[in-house]
């Protein structure tokens, strides 16, 4: 599928479409088809338009709405069918690098992290920032909700990952070691939330015990920085993507 430099991609909940975007400042939705005669590019639909690069995108609970985060410092909620902007979220002082939607079906919030060192929690309906956290010392590269939805973790260029509890409205844990000096680019929780997997720019993946705050294990294998990491929906494995052109599945 032709596109300029892609920085973000997402599957629709039904599995029938994907969204992607990047330096073209747009988020485009491609309906998936297994018919070899149809060209996917022909069905491409541009949904979001930002004034700077698209850093992250995610479908909400339905195939009909997409949430995007951009280098222009804003997040936005779009209607896929009409391409209309439904809600925009202003508040970050710099590029927004990542976002994650709250896990519950009834949840209407999402968290975003940006180059202004802040993680902000937003109400999708009102466009208001509900909570903001600024304890990192550098860009927040990745945010991920805890499986219960009451907390979220963030990974940052300051070489730490931090856990913030939403109901207590504060940071509750820091995952760091003096020997880790490279930024964390991507974080994800295991199914129960006991383990936090974080990919770092020093080519390793560190596994942290969320409750004890200690490192459980360190995984080597990539030959360049780990840029992204996700646990599978059934929790049996997780996959990491890296600048060494490989995707590795760890189980």
């Amino acid at each position: 599928m032709p596109c300029t430099w892609v920085m973000a991609c997402a599957y629709a909940p039904s599995g029938c479409a994907i969204a992607c975007g990047g330096l073209d400042n747009k988020c485009s939705v491609y309906p998936l088809t297994f018919d070899k005669n149809e060209s996917m590019a022909a069905k491409k639909k541009s949904v979001a338009m930002h004034t700077n690069y698209l850093s992250a995108c995610s479908f909400t609970n339905s195939d009909m709405q997409i949430l995007t985060a951009s280098g222009d410092g804003t997040c936005a909620l779009w209607d896929v069918e009409s391409g209309q902007l439904l809600q925009s979220f202003h508040g970050h002082g710099a590029d927004v690098l990542c976002l994650d939607l709250a896990p519950s079906e009834t949840g209407n919030t999402f968290v975003s992290g940006g180059c202004d060192k802040k993680s902000m929690v937003w109400d999708m309906r009102s466009g208001q920032c509900v909570q903001a956290f600024e304890t990192h010392e550098s860009d927040v590269n990745s945010v991920r909700y805890y499986p219960s939805g009451d907390a979220f973790a963030s990974g940052s260029d300051d070489a730490t990952c931090r856990l913030y509890d939403l109901r207590a409205d504060r940071e509750v844990a820091i995952y760091s070691k003096e020997s880790i000096i490279f930024g964390a680019s991507s974080v994800d929780f295991s199914l129960s939330g006991r383990l936090l997997f974080a990919g770092y720019n020093d080519y390793t993946i560190n596994v942290w015990d969320v409750l004890k705050g200690a490192r459980v294990s360190i995984l080597f294998g990539h030959e360049n920085r780990v840029s992204t990491l996700r646990v599978s929906p059934d929790g049996t494995a997780f996959c990491s993507g890296s600048w060494d052109h490989t995707l590795r599945v760890w189980a």
């Binding site: 909570q131 109901r167 207590a168 199914l191 939330g193 494995a237």
Partner: protein, 71 residues
């Protein structure tokens, strides 16, 4: 000169509004919030294949014993 100061005044007003909203939020004590996180972990740890390994028969990533050979 004056336009930039009015801009920063409106920005400051917005910040104050935001802070007022945030100050009214109901907060839970960390001891309670942490206990809840712990409880959630304990409750779901059985379902987590990365903590409690599933038997090899069900694990899709197990070491394969039988390999395909080209006849």
């Amino acid at each position: 000169m004056s336009s930039s100061s009015t801009a920063s005044i409106s920005q400051a007003r917005k910040a104050v509004e935001q802070l007022k909203m945030e100050a009214c939020m109901d907060r839970v004590k960390v001891s309670q919030a942490a206990a809840d996180l712990l409880a959630y972990c304990e409750a779901h740890v059985r379902e987590d294949p990365l903590i409690i390994p599933v038997p090899a028969s069900e694990n899709p990533f197990r070491e394969k014993k039988f390999f395909c050979t080209i006849l």
